[in-house]
């Protein structure tokens, strides 16, 4: 069977298995809630992207500081960003969650992320950095 396209503006369910009350949702709500950008990269050594969506390049700005640039710009710079990451403990076995923050200027073309040790507020490279962006596309 050939793949095709289904275009629809509204999803409606009879919800017969639960309330039996019809419910509808505008599909634009679904699209608006989808992450518009995500990346998982290794921030140590020669940094490398493991996987991503809507990223054109990743820049290593120095210890614990990274910039991801978008292929499709965001519409404005009021989007929401989530950043998280992990690094191996000094014993080489345990993991610790680094506290990470969004850093730098907000821009429609790029997002900066920053990893640091929560205990001493020192910048730190993270083996696993993960950044998501929610918002509107240009």
């Amino acid at each position: 069977m050939a793949n095709g396209t289904i275009a629809f503006d509204t999803l409606t369910t009879s919800d017969s298995k639960n309330t039996n009350t019809e419910k509808s949702i505008d599909t634009s709500y679904i699209f608006n809630g989808v992450a518009k950008f995500w990346v998982h990269f290794n921030g140590t050594g020669t940094i490398a992207t493991q996987d991503s969506f809507n990223q054109s390049a990743l820049t290593d700005n120095g210890t614990g500081e990274y910039t991801s640039t978008f292929s499709n710009n965001m519409a404005n710079d009021d989007y929401s960003t989530q950043v998280t990451g992990t690094e191996s403990g000094s014993d080489g076995v345990s993991s610790q969650i680094g506290t990470l923050q969004r850093n730098g200027d907000y821009s429609t073309s790029q997002v900066e992320s920053n990893g640091y040790h929560a205990n001493n507020n020192a910048d730190a490279d993270n083996q696993r950095m993960m950044v998501n962006v929610l918002g509107d596309l240009a």
């Binding site: 050594g45 020669t46 969506f53 809507n54 710009n73 509107d136």
Partner: protein, 162 residues
């Protein structure tokens, strides 16, 4: 392996093209790196830009990415003091996509898209190198003193870059 044909994408939202590429194309991890220094922040260390593998696959495939001038136009809009949101996003979607590039051409495109113009414009006139394209193995293998990395002023293809 049969090359996948890119659909006619002019007029298709760039986001939808990226979705298509994510599903159809295999990511390409490039060995190229761009090492650069910001002339407006000479005290900062050298930065290293790495092309995204999915983006590189789009560049090599052709017919997906918009011309780099589109990004410049959006950057000009954003630089205006009264900027609130993009009103010319259609440039990303309606401008004719660029043809397939070689990996080297893609790196040049990426420099013009993702690295500030003040770095690469007239860079050959600078009194010291501020942008170098190199291979991954020309970079230091460890991140010791990462925040002190600078481009080697005597850089050439046979030696370390930073």
């Amino acid at each position: 392996m049969t090359k996948i044909e890119t659909p006619e994408f002019q007029g298709t939202h760039l986001w939808d093209r990226l979705c298509w590429a994510k599903e159809k194309l295999e990511g390409k991890q490039s060995d190229y790196r761009v090492v650069w220094e910001d002339p407006d922040a000479p005290e900062e260390c050298a930065k290293v830009t790495v092309p995204d593998p999915n983006w590189m696959a789009c560049a090599l495939q052709g017919g997906i990415l918009p011309p780099v001038e589109v990004y410049w136009a959006l950057a000009e809009d954003e630089a205006k003091p009264d900027f609130k949101k993009h009103t010319r996003g259609y440039l990303l979607h309606n401008t004719k996509p660029i043809d397939a590039m070689t990996e080297e051409q893609a790196i040049e495109y990426l420099i013009m898209k993702d690295i500030p113009q003040r770095v690469w414009r007239d860079y050959e006139k600078a009194n010291r190198p501020r942008l170098v394209i190199c291979k991954k193995d020309q970079l230091p293998s460890t991140r010791v003193w990462r925040n002190a990395w600078k481009i080697d002023e005597n850089v050439n293809k046979s030696q370390k870059v930073a």
